[in-house]
């Protein structure tokens, strides 16, 4: 295979998956949607490591926030079937047993299920950049699919709305403590997603009070916040 051909190769996708891919809606871009009515998909990925260029998704947990509430009955969790994965640190942290991975479902199906679950909605995560890049790469590798959905990063939203937090580079756990959240079982994709969703509920509430009412306004505020962070460094 020539280098050029290798660079522009298309992954093989069977017909059934192809149909499902084509039926997916395009992502809605941040506009005048009200935060209090918007459906958000809060996602938490467990992966074999932190290299978005080569690590693999082990499981996907997602919870939706819609009309300002978390629907407990509408949650998403898939463990992906990964035969080639070795037991490493990440596996231990997430407590996903290799046997569980072996019996998980076919990664392509899991990812398609997830895309259908997401629909055209924005995604939310803590340190969302990681989840975004990992998902984009995996979807490109598997389907050649360009995942353009906007991601909101709570690691940015949190200090934007709580400028007086006084923590140095707060992590997810720090914010959980800051808001005194009771988290049932951390490091399980679903429970982590639920904790993230609870944070999102708090932030939507705070945003209202600070005059940030729409997705567009939140996007702009984050953009300005990033610029300020950059200039102060």
């Amino acid at each position: 295979m020539s280098l050029l051909k290798w660079l522009f190769r298309r992954p093989e996708v069977n017909q059934q998956d192809q149909q499902r891919l084509q039926a997916l809606p395009a992502a809605a871009m941040p506009g005048e949607q009200l935060l209090t009515q918007q459906r958000f998909v809060v996602v938490d990925l467990e992966a074999t490591g932190l290299h978005t260029g080569r690590d693999k998704i082990l499981s996907i947990g997602a919870v939706t926030v819609e009309h300002n509430g978390i629907a407990m009955g509408q949650q998403f969790e898939r463990t992906l079937k990964r035969r080639e994965v070795k037991v490493n640190e990440a596996v231990l942290i997430h407590q996903i047993a290799p046997s569980e991975l072996a019996t998980g479902i076919r990664p392509k199906t899991a990812l398609l299920d997830f895309l259908e679950f997401v629909d055209d909605c924005p995604l939310v995560a803590f340190h969302a950049g990681f989840d975004q890049r990992l998902l984009q790469r995996e979807l490109r590798d598997f389907f050649g699919y360009n995942f353009k959905h906007p991601f909101f990063d709570l690691a940015e939203v949190a200090p934007l709305l709580n400028p007086d937090h006084c923590m140095r580079q707060p992590r997810m756990d720090d914010w959980i403590d800051y808001f005194k959240l009771n988290v049932m079982q951390r490091h399980n994709a679903a429970a982590d997603a639920l904790a993230t969703a609870e944070l999102l509920l708090i932030f939507i509430n705070q945003a209202q009070k600070q005059g940030i009412l729409t997705l567009k306004q939140l996007d702009t505020a984050l953009h300005n916040w990033r610029r300020r962070q950059g200039s102060s460094m």
Partner: protein, 646 residues
């Protein structure tokens, strides 16, 4: 399995897995802890989690008919009854993690009447009305909880208490068991009144029983003859063994209905110093229970304990016997006696102890040959004593003149002081306020007592009535009873006619506010020292009930002194609404129960008795009901404030 099915199944599994944590959350709280996993699954799947920042309204009357059941996942919500027609009822209450609201509005398909506001940042699960209805139809536990609310939880507590206590005893006999269901209830051995003594004794011997009933052909009981009677008869050298039973039996034996409880029988035996109770239905003898039947399983029994106390040869023996009294009380609690039963029993045993002490002291001093009555006040006067008790007593005697009264007083005071000290040795702590017979001000003639009460009422302030109020619950336990009854009657009549004094008493009853307040804390607790984070159950919990009922009862001229009896009579007279009365009685009952359990544990750990409780150490259920009970205390105080315009 089709692809669609597989997809649905994978989704379901995922949800099952995801909601596990939430299920575990619900399982910590009643009534969810008693629900089936499938029912809980239905609950969780239909829940939406919402966030309410501190100060935000969660649900209010303006929101219209209630569409959801709210269950607090985290945080705290306070409710405010909107003011309006029921001003006296206006309350503020708090709801904590695991609690549900607004139940009544949801069931009544109307808007809530309470403004629910987040007291701190709060997460609530919202269950849709449809799912709520579905859950009610599926789960008996849940339906029971929704309909009966806190009362259904009270039942749970009682079961819990009994189980806990029964564990250590390995016995489940309930003091509430009807006598007809006691396995040991026997067919009575009977004979006609004309039977010669020796024949009757032979019958007893053959049947191997300790007693025989004398009855006519219609089986109407006429008398009883026991082994104790036999000893008495044989001890007389002139006894004719052929004389008919009529002449040796104890006539008119004490009887109870077979529907009466084991407790009733035990109490009757203790009160009357008898060992047998015959069971009579429609005038006909149907059975017999002896103290052995009731207490066959126990080492120390109530009746013989009372008897031993009553005949104790020395003070030292009485002091030793306090241990047996404690053991007895523990068994009572273990066998599911209600707090009212237990406090009545303790009072009874304490009465016996006090009487015996008085007699022993008199024996030692040589009888001064003065008739006097020993009166008790406060909890003892109300028959509501627990093991943790102090003395409130006085002496009443008859005297024609001031000189005579002074002379008698001089003779009685040294004796009274010795009695006070002896009572102290037996565990009745000396009264800190010196409200005791050994104090010259509490050793008075009837006339002096009346004057004293008049003065007390004239000089009353809300503050001094906090301590002196107990004198309006009085009772005679030794000596002539009639003078005390007369005095009590006169005092009640005086108070009933004196609305100014009633108002002062009411004001005093409002001084001890139940510890709900502080508006937005679960309980308002002591902030300092060794008593940090504690609250006093007696002062803050029971006193509001006792004092409020005292004012209301006295104002109506009700002579009963027990708090529950006062509530019953006030309900009977329409002063208190029946539902309110039940709620007050239940709340009072519960606080007393918690207090007794605490004394029980303190005794087991060799600690001194204390009424201080640490709410954080209670289990969720107890803490919740305790708070609900304090709310009832708050309500009765509010209605008292309204009635006396305070």
């Amino acid at each position: 399995m089709s692809r669609q099915d597989a997809f649905a199944k994978a989704g379901r599994d995922a949800v099952q897995q995801n909601i596990q944590g939430t299920l575990d959350f619900f399982r910590q709280f009643p009534p969810f802890d008693a629900m089936e996993p499938a029912e809980l699954g239905l609950l969780v799947e239909n829940c939406v989690l919402r966030f309410y920042a501190q100060g935000e309204s969660v649900i209010s009357p303006a929101d219209g008919p209630v569409e959801h059941l709210y269950i607090i996942k985290q945080g705290r919500v306070y409710g405010e009854r909107s003011k309006g027609q029921d001003v006296g009822d206006e309350t503020i209450f708090e709801l904590g993690v695991g609690e549900c609201f607004p139940m009544a509005a949801l069931l009544g398909e109307r808007a809530t009447r309470t403004l629910h506001t987040a007291d701190e940042d709060t997460f609530c699960f919202l269950l849709t009305k449809d799912a709520f209805v579905k859950l009610m139809s599926r789960s008996d536990t849940f339906r029971d909880f929704c309909v009966r609310g806190i009362s259904s939880l009270l039942d749970q507590v009682n079961v819990q208490v009994q189980n806990r206590a029964a564990e250590s005893l390995g016995s489940q006999i309930s003091m509430d068991t009807p006598l007809s269901q006691l396995s040991s209830m026997r067919e009575p051995v009977t004979c006609p009144a004309s039977t010669p003594l020796h024949e009757a004794v032979q019958t007893m011997h053959e049947a191997q029983v300790g007693s025989i009933m004398i009855a006519n052909e219609l089986l109407q009981p006429q008398g009883i003859f026991t082994l104790r009677d036999l000893r008495r008869v044989i001890a007389d050298p002139n006894t004719d063994l052929r004389q008919p039973m009529q002449q040796v039996m104890t006539p008119n034996p004490f009887s109870l209905s077979p529907d009466a409880t084991a407790f009733d029988a035990a109490l009757a035996m203790t009160e009357r110093h008898i060992a047998h109770v015959c069971l009579v239905r429609d005038g006909k003898l149907v059975g017999m229970v002896s103290e052995r039947d009731l207490f066959s399983l126990r080492r120390v029994d109530l009746v013989s304990l009372a008897r031993t106390v009553r005949t104790a040869p020395s003070l030292e023996k009485l002091v030793q016997m306090r241990q047996d009294v404690k053991a007895m009380v523990e068994r009572m609690i273990a066998h599911g006696a209600s707090p009212e039963q237990v406090t009545r029993l303790i009072t009874l045993l304490n009465d016996h102890t006090s009487c015996r002490i008085i007699e022993l002291v008199l024996e030692k001093h040589g009888n001064p040959d003065i008739k006097f009555s020993w009166m008790v006040f406060g909890s003892e006067g109300r028959k509501e004593q627990t093991l943790h008790t102090d003395q409130d007593n006085g002496i009443l005697f008859e005297a024609a003149s001031i000189e005579e009264a002074n002379a008698i007083r001089q003779k009685l005071l040294p004796i009274a002081r010795e009695i006070n000290v002896a009572l102290d040795d037996c565990g009745f702590t000396l009264c800190r306020g010196n409200f005791m017979a050994g104090n010259a001000e509490f050793c008075l003639s009837r006339r002096e007592w009346l004057v004293r009460y008049q003065k007390m009422m004239r000089d009353a302030t809300a503050q001094n009535m906090q301590f002196a109020g107990v004198h309006f619950d009085l009772r005679c336990i030794w000596g002539p009873e009639q003078p005390c009854v007369e005095l009590h009657r006169q005092v009640v009549a005086m108070v009933a006619a004196d609305s100014v004094f009633q108002r002062v008493l009411a004001e005093s009853a409002l001084l001890n506010r139940p510890p709900l307040g502080g508006l937005f804390r679960n309980f308002t607790l002591s902030k300092k020292g060794a008593e940090k984070d504690s609250l006093d159950l007696k002062v803050k919990g029971l006193a509001p009930f006792v004092e409020s009922m005292r004012v209301l009862a006295l104002s109506q001229g009700i002579e009963a002194t027990s708090t529950l009896e006062r509530i019953r009579q006030l309900v009977g007279r329409g002063i208190i609404d029946r539902l309110d009365g039940d709620a007050y009685a239940e709340a009072y009952h519960f606080i007393q129960l918690i207090r007794m359990q605490q004394h029980h544990q303190q005794a087991a750990q060799g600690l001194t008795y204390s009424n201080l409780i640490y709410p954080d150490e209670l289990n969720t259920l107890d803490r919740r009901i305790l708070r609900e009970s304090f709310r009832q205390a708050q309500r009765i105080q509010n209605s008292l404030a309204l009635r006396y315009q305070l």
